[in-house]
Amino acid sequence: MSYQFIDTPEQKKKLDKVFVELKGVPGSLMKAMQKAQDIYGYLPIEIMQRIATACNVPVEEVYGIATFYAQFNIEPMGKYKVGICLGTACYVKGSGVILDKIKERLHIEPGHTTEDMKFTLEATRCIGCCGLAPVMTINGEVHGNLKPEDLDTIFAKYGA
């Protein structure tokens, strides 16, 4: 998949402000990366380079952290982030089956984004709504007590 990184002046200004705020704070590298991802949605190499310069570390270290933690994305995300909870409570109540159905529907594996950049599928860890298991989130909105047959109605809302 090819995509172009666009850096708007507002985004650039926001990130510069973050660098100023974090200057001299011990252990601020990860904080800077988290804030940068909030601003850009992901961490392209251009941004990782800027973080490296600002925090005075090699870019390899930034990349090393970005790939270590599940939360950092180095590729852009789809418009809708679909997260299927694979925590134990959801799993024993059949979230694995739900994940299979969504994979069939979107034709992607977890961790990937559809060609049209609409959906990113993620198998998430426990999000703590075990009372509603099995659950799925779409851009943070929780859909609970899922059955495979519910998926049609839910995805119809997002145009898929």
Partner: protein, 604 residues
Amino acid sequence: MLERAHIMICGGTGCTSGNSKKVMEEFEVQLKKNGLRDEVKLIMTGCFGLCARGPIVAVYPDGAFYQHVKVEDVAEIVTEHILKGRRVTRLLGSERTESGEVMPINQTPFYRSQKRIVLRNCGRINPENIDEYIAFDGYKAYEKCVKEMTPEGVIQLLTDSGLRGRGGGGFPTGKKWLSTYNAKDDQKYVVCNADEGDPGAFMDRSVLEGDPHSVIEAMMIAGYAVGATQGYVYVRAEYPIAVQRLQIAIDQARAYGILGKNAMGLGHKFDMEIRLGAGAFVCGEATALIHSIEGHRGEPTQKPPHLAEHGLWGKPTVLNNVETYANIPQIILNGPQWFKSMGTEKSSGTKVFALGGKIMNTGLVEIPMGTTLRTIIEEIGGGIPNGKKFKAAQTGGPSGGCIPASLIDTPIDYDNLIAIGSMMGSGGLIVMDEDNCMVDIAKFFLEFTVDESCGKCTPCRIGNKRLYEMLDKITKGQGTMEDLDKMEELCKYIKANSLCGLGQTAPNPVLSTLKYFRDEYIAHVRDKKCPAGVCKALLNYVIDKDKCIGCGLCARKCPAGAITKSDYIAEGHKLPSMQIDVTKCLKCGACMDTCNRQCAISKK
């Protein structure tokens, strides 16, 4: 002015997902509409625990406990209960006393065996208002420590109470504090582990969401006892509500002069900040967590040196988990004997469990140590739904094991759980019924650890991967009896040689299922059958020819063209029944999903 009623709406993650915020807004609208807004106080509170029946709304002073409250129900609660004083019985749950009255909530099976110490303020106060915490003895314990006790005295009191780490290991808290106290340095740190990564455990989150000040207060006490002035709370970024409430609490405590250079005017300095995790299970391990706070990859390092001597930024550090901290102010106020009066000899106090899986009352329960699994499952949990049979309970998450039905009368405490091959862990308790395959569950946990292994040491990185592959082979019907012995050997090797707790405990789910459910493994290996009907590769889809009406819907859906008409027409049917060619079948299950008469197709 004084309100005549308090309406408490659960704002925990479970109920919020069930739309409790909208319910709150609707109360606002309905109360105004009825001219009652000034007489009633609306409070968004922390988790009540009974997540399965959320959203929950409690009305005080009469203690009505409304369940499954929808936006549509709010108008009725306001006009009937608040205006006319008649409770809306249909929303009060199904428990009745012998005389047929609605049972008071603290007498229901779910609550009556519980003892809420850690969760005492959850569902009782507004976590975003420091005054409410202070009203319930908040920050009194810190005041008592600084005014009346020496740091040694505080540590001795904790040691006497027998409090053990609630994050999993069960290390005595007093002992931990003492070694940090003994370490000599100009700067020390207090750290709170709120990186609750165990899939299916959410008690730390509920404490932070429902009672964040109790953690702040306990960390201040730790600071006074060990001689630290700075605290860090390391929270999972997946818990946005908890992070937000904790931040509000810290800000309020600062504004009140409780946190800061001269905390509460008592001459001791303490401040703290939040550090967000970024989704790595291994960061629950102490040394990995410290590296993550420092802004590095969360890889564990060899112990010793222990954190007490060489922790955050190389300084002496005391690290405890959220639930451990939440116990401390109460222990200080009520004394070690009070705490020891609950629980068992070697595990005093209570433990919070996140009850989940195949159980009626999913939610958060706090019970005295030593309560049996049977009480938790049958009484508090309300049993297994759909009349299914209890098969096993899993505790300790990916580091723990499965407890079979035969051990259901085991009193739950640290040592008993270890003795039966599981562990306390952070307190996830997942119930499984006859439809869960134990080999599949073991594989599920291994997949998790393989994914979360940081890769630093070989036994964990490669050993667990190999273990996973063997399990995968077995669930596909390609395993051999020899594999079972090899797996046991490999498990022992990984446990003995891994660098950190993640690797050392990762084989536990495999070992415990091999120990208690070996027959199920043998069924997969020798008979090529999955008794629970879970492992896809071992199932065949079969059409019951006497039930099938021959509509052909399944044949049209079948992606492999494996379904054709047979030449058998059942009595009373017009069309011949369908049949599945097992050599072509992909076992996708599409036929079963489409069948008009769901009984006609089954997995065998």
